[in-house]
Symmetry: C2
Subunit: 493 residues, 2 copies
Amino acid sequence: MNQSDHITRTAAIIGGGVIGGGWAARFLLNGWNVRVFDPDPQAGRKLGEVLDNARRALPSLYDTALPAEGRLSFHDTIPEAVSGATWVQESVPERLDLKRGIYRDVQAHCPPDAVIGSSTSGFRPSELQGHAARPGQIIVTHPFNPVYLLPLVEVVPSPATTPAITGKATEILTALGMKPLLVRREIDAHIADRLLESVWREGLWLVRDGIATTAEIDDAIRYGFGLRWAQMGLFETYRIAGGEAGMKHFIGQFGPALAWPWSRLTDVPELTDDLVDTIAAQSDAQSGHMTIRALERLRDDNLVGIMRALRKSGSGAGGVINAHETRLADPGPDTGPAPADLPVTARRQVPQGWADYNGHMNESHYLEAASLATDRFMGMIGADAAYVASGRSYFTVENHVRYLREVKAGEEITITTQVLRGEGGKMRLFHRLSGGDGGLSATVETMLLHVDLNKRTTAPPSGDVAARLAEYARAHARLPLPEGAGRGIGGPR
Amino acid sequence: MNQSDHITRTAAIIGGGVIGGGWAARFLLNGWNVRVFDPDPQAGRKLGEVLDNARRALPSLYDTALPAEGRLSFHDTIPEAVSGATWVQESVPERLDLKRGIYRDVQAHCPPDAVIGSSTSGFRPSELQGHAARPGQIIVTHPFNPVYLLPLVEVVPSPATTPAITGKATEILTALGMKPLLVRREIDAHIADRLLESVWREGLWLVRDGIATTAEIDDAIRYGFGLRWAQMGLFETYRIAGGEAGMKHFIGQFGPALAWPWSRLTDVPELTDDLVDTIAAQSDAQSGHMTIRALERLRDDNLVGIMRALRKSGSGAGGVINAHETRLADPGPDTGPAPADLPVTARRQVPQGWADYNGHMNESHYLEAASLATDRFMGMIGADAAYVASGRSYFTVENHVRYLREVKAGEEITITTQVLRGEGGKMRLFHRLSGGDGGLSATVETMLLHVDLNKRTTAPPSGDVAARLAEYARAHARLPLPEGAGRGIGGPR
C-alpha cells in the first residue's frame, strides 16, 4: 500500500443511514477519520447504533488488533465535510437528480484527486456523472449490508472515470480489508444486484402464487445452495457437479432446462457453441488449476467449517446438526451404578478444520475435545444442562495438557476419564485421549470447582451429584495414579 | 423417532451417480444398509469416490461419533435391490419415460408402504406418478449436492401422495440429519431450483454480453450476499435492511425497482396492497419474535463465524481476512536487541463465537490465544513461516493453563510472554493473559521442543534462532519466576 501510506486518512460520508453508517464504521475501525454530513436530526443516534454493531463484530474477524479508531465528527454542510477529504462516499436515496446535486456541491469543495464513490445499487456511473465538473472523479463503489463486515464492493468506472481514480479506489478499499470487484462494463444494477433482483422477483411470484411463504423460501436457500454460495458461488459449484467431464458436460446436461418453465425468467440466451465454449474456457481459467477431486474436498472442508460455525447460534444448518447430535448422543436411561472401568466420555472424528498446515490436530483442539469430555462426564454424574439451568455448575480452574503423539485430521479419537478426586466442591479429572489405533496420544488433567452461578462463588454440589461423583471416585481410586498426573512443567529455569 | 426405531433400516438406491452416491453415503453413515442398482460398469468406483468424500466430511460436523456404518451391496436387478426396502431413492437422468418405467419395476417388488422418493430437480410428483400402480407411494425428495453434507431436501407430495408416505419420508429424513422442507403445492422445479434457475439464466446473459466472467460472477456472490444467504436467506436479510420500520418499508423503498431493467426477469408480479400485506405478515410470523437489533447481532455473529471458518482454506472472504491481517500484523523491520520488558505477543478482541452460553470465553480458547502468542514469539526470534518452510520448527509438548478471572466476549485481551528457559532444543514460555482492564485473567505455561520436520525428531535450532532466544532468556532471567510457574495440579488424591 505505497499510495495510502502517504495519503490523509480522512473520509467524508454523505448520508449516514444503514449503508453510510456502515461505511463510516469500516473507515473508523481501520484508523481513518470520518466526517459525516446528514441533515436527519436522528443521524447521530442511527450511526451510533451501526457503530456499536461494527465494534462488536468487525474486530472479531481478526486474530490481531485493528488500528486505533479514527475520529468521528458530524458536519452541517457538505463543504465542511468534504474539504481536504481523500474519499467521499455518497449513500443517499436512489434519485438521480438528488445524487447529481450532491456531486455539484462536493466537487466545488473536495480535492480534485479525491475519490467520489457512490453506493448506488442500480445507476450506471455515466448516469451519475451527468454534467459534473470533473466526471473522471466519480465512480460507483457499491457495498453490501452490513458494510462493516461483508468484503464485497463493486467498483464500476464509466469510460469517463480516470484510471487514476479507479486505481486509487481499489487500493484504498483493499486497505480497508474489503474486496473490490472491478465491473469492466457498466450495466444497470451492476452484477450482484442483477442476480439478487432475479431471485427477488422469482421469490415474489412464489409468495404471490401461494407456493411458498417467506420463511420457506429462506429455508430453501439457507439449508441448501446458500451454503455453497458463501464460499464458491454459482459456476465453480456447477463445475464440480459436472465432474471430471467438466463444465461442457454440465451445460449439456442442464442446458435443455433453459427451455423449460423452471423460472419466470423466460427471456434466455441461446446456448450457442460459442457461448458454451466461452463458459468452459472461463471456468477453466477460474478453477482449472485444481482437479475436480481437489475442488470437492475444498468445498466440503468449507461447508463443514461454515456449518460448524453455525452450530454456535443454531441458525439454519447449525440447528439441524445440533438436533441430530442430541439424538446421536442421547445416553439413554440411567444404567445404574458407576462402572469400575473408565467411562468413554468422547468418541469422534477429528474435523479437517482442526488441523494445522501439516494435517495434524492443532494444540488447542486437544483441550476442546477434553472440555467436551468433561461436559459429558458432568452429564453422567447429573450435572447436566438442567442442573446448570438451575444455577449450579463446575468451572475449570486449571488444565494440564501433555502431547505424546500426533493425531491426524480425520482420525477417530476416544477419550476415557478417570476421577482423581471428587469431594466437597472439588473435581479433579484425568482424560486419556487415544488415536485411531488405540495408542495414547495426549493426557489432559483438569481441576474444576463447583460454583453457584448466581453468586459466582464456590459452593458444594447437590447431594445427588456429590453421591454419583463419589461413587466414581471410589471406583477409580482402585486404579493406579496415571503416569504424569500431578506433575508440573518442570526442569531447570 | 418412534417410527424409525421399529423400521428396517434398508435403503435401495436406483442410479448411483453423484446424487445417488450422495444418498447412499448419507444412509450408510447413519447406520442404514444400502443396496445399489446401477447398470454402469463404473458404478462401484464412482460410488466409492463419493463415499470416500463423505467419510472424510460428514462425521466432522458432529462432536460425537455417528452410528456404525451400514452394509453396502450392489445388485444386478431392481427387484433384488428394492425387495424389503423401507426407502427407495431414484436418481436417474431427467427423462419422464425412464423414471416411470423404473417405478413400474420398483412397485412390482418393493413393500407397499416403502417410500419411493425421486431426486428430480424439476418434474412434479403428479407427472412422476403417471399411471403408477400405487401413486400414493411416490413423492419427490429433492436433495442438494453434496447430498452427504447439505441438509436440505425438498419434500414434494402430489394430491395423490398419501399423508402416511409424506409423514414417513419427513421422519426418516430428519433421522438422517437432514432438513425436510415440505413444498405444499407442486410446481415445476419446486422452490430452490426455481431461484437457482433464475440466477443461472441471469448469469448466462452476463457472460454472453461480456459484462462479467464466470469467476467475476462467483466473486460477486461469495464475497457478498452468499455469506448472508448461508445463514438467513433472502427475506429475513431484507427485513433487517428495512430496519425498525420493517418489511413494508423495505418493499416501499425497493418496490419501484421491479419496473426497472435490473434483471432479465421482466415478467414481474404487481406489488398490490394484498401482496405487500402477505409478505409483511409472513415475515412477521418468521422473524417477528426478534427485534431488528437482535436480528442484526445474530446475522453479524453468524457472518463472523462463517468468515472465520473460511480463513482455514483461505476461500473467498477467508482469504480477504487473512490478507488484511498480514498487513495489520506486519511487525516492520527488526528493531534490534530484545527488550528487557516482556514483549506483547497478542492483542485482540475476543470473538462472540469464543463465548460459552454465559458470554464468557470458553476454556479452550485461552489456549488458542496463547498458541497464537507462541507463534508470534517464534516469529520474533526468527522461527517464522520461512523457517518452518525450511524444515524446522518448535512443537508444543506440554501446556499448563490456570484460569484466574473470567473474560467476556468482546473484551480486548493482551498477552505478554516471558522466557523461562531457552537453551538447546528446549523453549519454556510463560504467557500472561490480561483482560480489558489490565488485570491478570489467565496464565499459560508452555514447553516446546525444537524439531527437524523432515525426520520428525528433536534437533537444535539454527544459530540465529538460538542466539535471539538466548538473548530473551538472559533478559527475562532478571525477572522473578512468575507465581504458578512449574506448578502441577496438586492436592490430595
